[in-house]
């Protein structure tokens, strides 16, 4: 039955496979789409790599389960289109609920980060 091989998603560095990472990746994708508008999978992956400045080196493929997850929740939608050099590619864009979600996700992420920071300084 559904043997979920989630270890595939493990990035080459960083917090290995933790649920936090999943949420992080989701937020990164949403943010990327917010700032860049509709993008295909490769574009999103490259953008995340660039922004994180190699601190988070992920297999680009890891982006696809995350895209599926966001699409299933109705936060992003996908459409086939043509890339700048004439290739067929699947473009993802934010939905209305997705836009609202960014705010919430950001808030909750900041809360976690702040809590974490307090812990680390309290030590």
């Amino acid at each position: 039955m559904g043997e979920d091989k989630s270890d595939v998603l493990r990035p080459t560095a960083g917090a290995a496979g933790s649920p936090m990472l999943q949420g992080t990746l989701d937020l990164m994708v949403l943010k990327t789409l917010e700032s860049m508008g509709p993008q295909h999978g490769y574009g999103i992956a490259r953008r995340i790599e660039q922004i994180s400045e190699q601190a988070l080196r992920l297999n680009q493929g890891t982006i696809y389960p995350a895209l599926l997850r966001l699409r299933q929740r109705g936060w992003i939608k996908a459409e086939w289109g043509t890339s700048e050099n004439g290739r067929r590619a699947r473009y993802y864009s934010l939905t209305k609920t997705g836009k609202a979600q960014i705010e919430r996700e950001t808030e909750s992420w900041e809360r976690v980060a702040a809590t974490m920071a307090r812990f680390l300084t309290a030590g």
């Binding site: 559904g2 091989k5 595939v8 297999n59 680009q60 696809y64 997850r69 919430r104």
Partner: protein, 887 residues
């Protein structure tokens, strides 16, 4: 719930929905995913090339950056839909392919299951229709039947007398309305038509409140119509409306002549309303309590009483109330009510309670059959699982998990179960549709037994359950397969436990079959006794019909009419003898009286004899061929004297005057002596059912004592009695054109109806037992044949080492017969317990009759032995050289 939580929940729901949708778009989604990944790699490679990498390296780097393409693809696919459901679908398709590959095997399995599930479904339909689903009246659980019962001894079928009904109505605190009804036979004259005999039921107005069913047309009569002196009203049944009035909607408020009186048709009931069953016309009784005070004693009980409980009143509370009133009446009227009490029963109990033990027996029988069918299929699947070991081993070696394989095998058996179940349900549906109307008694009424959705759901649930039940053994056995041996040897080999399991299944199967066989044999013997034991009369070539005059008809009119018809019929060519009786054997009819006797001591308020009354006229003994044991029969003259003489049956003599001569002694009614002039044989069927032993009975001249107004004529004929019907109608018409005859039937038909229920039970259980026996034999044959096939090589070795053919055959016979013997012993033990349930259904045979057991065991052993012998002989004929070379 916070906003976040709500958003998350909405997200989860969307996810579930989108995964469900994905189930139906698998192929398209796969193509899209592949396209997307390919486009990703193309774009990445192109960018690399643009940065100046050679083509090969650009592609390589794109692949490296991406990570494992296959892994990503699988992960996405897994989360896109429901892997469990998709596997299930694949397994189902695989199972269907397997079935196509070996259609013979599939057909046997499906047919076996269809038999088991079909039988169970048909019987469950019967049980559900009678004992489970609500009866077709509003708030049916509030309707109760109130019976009048003797504190001890035989009652009159629960019938009540009018004064007790009025007392009950005045004193109770539990009932919203209290109805009575009694059967009556009426003659309707409408317009210029010939008189028609109708099955009439007289009721009070509360009858309609108790059952609460609205009329189809017009209205039902109400409390105002029920006052004495008001215009008489009737309500028609749907069938009578169709039959007599051709379904004319204008019949409402039409006046017709009923038994010589003018009555008004108030309404027509819907077709589904059938209380009491067979009623064609309900006639408002208009009884006044003051008119009935005299009719309290024995012989005055004639009404059935039903009531509707007040809201919130339970049956237990009503019982307490009835007991209180019963106690009051016992104190107030010790002479007439002293030994009587009221009992209450739910409507369902009243209607189907007597059938419950039989239904339980049938239900158990069908469950046993289903169990046997399941075991057979389990056995078949076990053998097949063995044959498929190589396939399983191969798939396991290729990486299928044990759980996945178990799942696949269970899916296969559930698919078989569901197909078999669906066919069984379809078969049961057709069967129920076909025979429902021909079921005996109440069960045969329209709508009484029909298949409904709950039954179908339960049946399909059973089908899935059986699929899992019989699939679990082979599925588990596959887990034990040793990969390397199964692959290497290329032959099927099981551990010893597999044999043990099969032997145990044989034991259980034989045991269950024995239980069914014992049950069937007992019921068959009981039925045989029921039909073949002396009835006290000869039913062949006997035509019967009934006539009825209003109860207050003058004695001279009664005597002239029935005497005139008697004379006319006696001269009819083909008629050998003609007689009359007020209620024929097999009729559930009761009239009891108390007597004193001149040979017994007389105590005040303590009647010496309580006996059933019957009235006869014409050549009754001759027409029915009732043996006259002593003395003489009754003549026409006997009805003319003041203190009419009587006949008694043998049972009365046995109980009250054993060993002495009853002739010339007298029975006393209120001091008036009636001489006993003859003793006749006991007539079975005069105590309601022909299975009930006849009690003491007294036979009166029907034309004496004021004249009995209702008569059954019995006409013994030379040949087919049906041919006389026309002539009889003409003769009756000639005597009195306003009279009609009703209830025309041969005595054989009446008896046939009387044994229809036990015969049906017997036939069902016997056919179940037959099927069970067949399945058991197939199962045992299969198991032994399997043992033999498994061990061909071993047989070769044994023979090479000097074993004889007889020895080899004996080896396999032992293998099968030891578990069979264990099954027989266990089955016999369980039967002894279970057949106690049958006790109330049996007539003339004991539930633990050793002969029945002996017969059943032999009936089981013979086919089992044959089923064992054939494959065993095959084993013995194995050629040792070939058996050894085969490997």
């Amino acid at each position: 719930m916070t906003r976040d939580d709500r958003e998350r929940a909405v997200g989860e729901l969307r996810t579930i929905w989108s995964r469900c949708v994905a189930l139906f778009r698998r192929r398209r989604l796969d193509l899209e995913l592949d396209d997307e990944l390919r486009s990703h790699l193309d774009i990445a490679a192109e960018e690399n090339r643009r940065r100046g990498m050679p083509d090969e390296e650009a592609r390589g780097k794109a692949m490296r950056d991406f990570g494992g393409v296959t892994q990503v693809r699988e992960t996405v696919r897994m989360r896109e839909g429901w892997p469990f459901v998709e596997n299930l679908r694949r397994d189902v398709l695989y199972a269907l392919r397997q079935m196509r590959k070996s259609p013979g095997f599939a057909a046997v399995v499906i047919a076996t299951l269809a038999l088991g599930i079909g039988a169970t479904t048909a019987i469950f339909t019967l049980v559900y229709s009678t004992l489970v689903r609500p009866l077709p009246y509003p708030e049916d659980q509030r309707i109760v039947a109130i019976h009048d019962a003797r504190l001890q001894g035989q009652s009159t079928g629960g019938l009540m007398s009018m004064p007790r009904f009025f007392d009950l109505r005045a004193r109770n605190r539990s009932f919203e309305s209290l109805a009575f009804f009694y059967f009556d036979q009426g003659t309707v004259v409408s317009g210029t038509q010939l008189p028609v005999a109708v099955q009439k039921t007289r009721t009070n107005a509360a009858f309609w409140q108790v059952f609460g069913v609205r009329p189809l047309l017009g209205r039902t009569y109400d409390a105002r119509d029920d006052q004495p002196g008001m215009p008489a009203t009737v309500v028609l049944s749907y069938d009578a409306w169709q039959k007599i009035f051709g379904g004319d909607p204008g019949v409402i408020n039409r006046q017709i002549t009923l038994d010589g009186f003018t009555v008004t048709i108030a309404g027509v009931m819907p077709r589904s309303f059938d209380v009491p069953s067979g009623t064609e016309l309900w006639h408002c009784a208009q009884f006044d309590a003051a008119d009935w005070t005299k009719y309290r004693g024995e012989g005055t009980r004639f009404i059935n009483v039903f009531a509707r409980l007040k809201p919130g009143v339970t049956l237990a509370m009503a019982e307490g109330d009835l007991e209180r009133i019963g106690e009051q009446l016992r104190r107030e009227y010790p002479l007439t009510d002293g030994v009587w009490q009221f009992t209450s029963h739910t409507l369902r109990e009243d209607r189907y309670g007597a059938m419950r033990p039989a239904l339980v027996v049938l239900m158990i029988a069908s469950a046993l059959l289903l169990a046997i069918a399941c075991i057979n299929v389990a056995n078949l699947l076990l053998s097949r699982a063995t044959a498929r070991q190589r396939e399983v081993a191969l798939r396991r070696a290729l990486g299928a998990s044990a759980g996945r394989m178990t799942m696949q095998f269970l899916t296969e058996s559930v698919v078989l179960g569901v197909i078999g179940g669906a066919m069984g349900v379809a078969g049961a549906f057709a069967l129920v549709r076909g025979v429902a109307a021909r079921l005996p008694g109440r069960l045969g009424l329209p709508g009484a037994v029909e298949m409904s959705w709950p039954v179908i759901w339960v049946a399909l649930l059973i089908a899935v359950g059986t699929g899992i039940a019989f699939g679990i053994a082979p599925a588990l056995e596959n887990r034990r397969i040793e990969l390397n041996t199964a692959m290497k040897r290329g032959e099927t080999r099981l551990g010893g436990s597999g044999h043990g399991l099969r032997s145990a299944l044989v034991s259980v199967q034989v045991g269950l079959s024995l239980i069914l066989l014992v049950g069937a044999t007992l019921m068959a013997e009981s039925l045989w006794h029921l039909v073949k034991n002396p009835l006290g009369f000869a039913p062949e070539h006997l035509l019967t019909f009934s006539m009825k005059l209003p109860w207050n008809t003058k004695e001279s009119v009664v005597r002239n009419l029935y005497g005139g018809i008697q004379e006319k019929l006696e001269t009819l060519p083909g008629a050998i003898a003609v007689g009359q009786m007020d209620a024929l054997p097999t009729l559930d009819w009761h009239l009891r009286s108390n007597f004193d006797a001149d040979w017994l001591p007389r105590t005040a308020n303590q009647p010496a004899i309580n006996a059933e009354d019957r009235s006869i006229s014409g050549n009754f003994l001759g027409a029915m061929s009732v043996p006259l044991v002593e003395g003489r029969g009754l003549s026409k003259q006997d009805s003319l004297v003041k203190n009419v003489p009587v006949l008694v049956n043998q049972e009365l003599v046995r109980e009250y005057l054993p060993g002495a001569n009853p002739l010339g002694r007298h029975l006393l009614v209120d001091g008036t002596p009636h001489e006993i002039v003859g003793v006749i044989a006991n007539l079975r069927g005069t105590a309601g059912s022909i299975a009930n032993p006849p009690g003491p009975e007294v036979y009166w001249p029907a034309d004496g004592n004021g004249g009995v107004t209702e008569r059954f004529f019995v006409v013994r004929s030379q040949s087919d009695p049906e041919q006389l019907v026309r002539a009889i109608r003409e003769q009756v018409h000639a005597v009195d054109p306003t009279q009609a005859i009703g209830n025309v039937a041969t005595m054989d038909e009446l008896l046939d109806k009387a044994v229809a229920q036990p015969r049906l039970n017997m036939a069902v259980v016997a056919s179940f037992a037959g099927i069970a026996l067949l399945l058991a034999c197939v199962g045992i044959y299969g198991v032994v044949a399997f043992f033999v096939a498994q061990r061909t090589q071993e047989i070769g070795v044994r023979m090479a080492l000097g074993a004889t053919r007889a020895g080899i055959a004996a080896l396999f016979i032992r293998r099968a017969l030891i578990p069979a013997a264990v099954g027989l012993l266990a089955g016999a033990g369980v039967s002894l317990g279970l057949t106690q349930l049958l006790r109330s259904q049996l007539y003339g045979v004991k539930a633990n009759d050793p002969l029945v057991y002996a017969v059943s065991i032999v009936a089981l052993l013979v086919p089992v032995a044959i089923a064992t012998l054939r494959p065993a002989l095959v084993a013995a004929s194995v050629n040792p050289v070939e058996a050894l070379r085969a490997e």
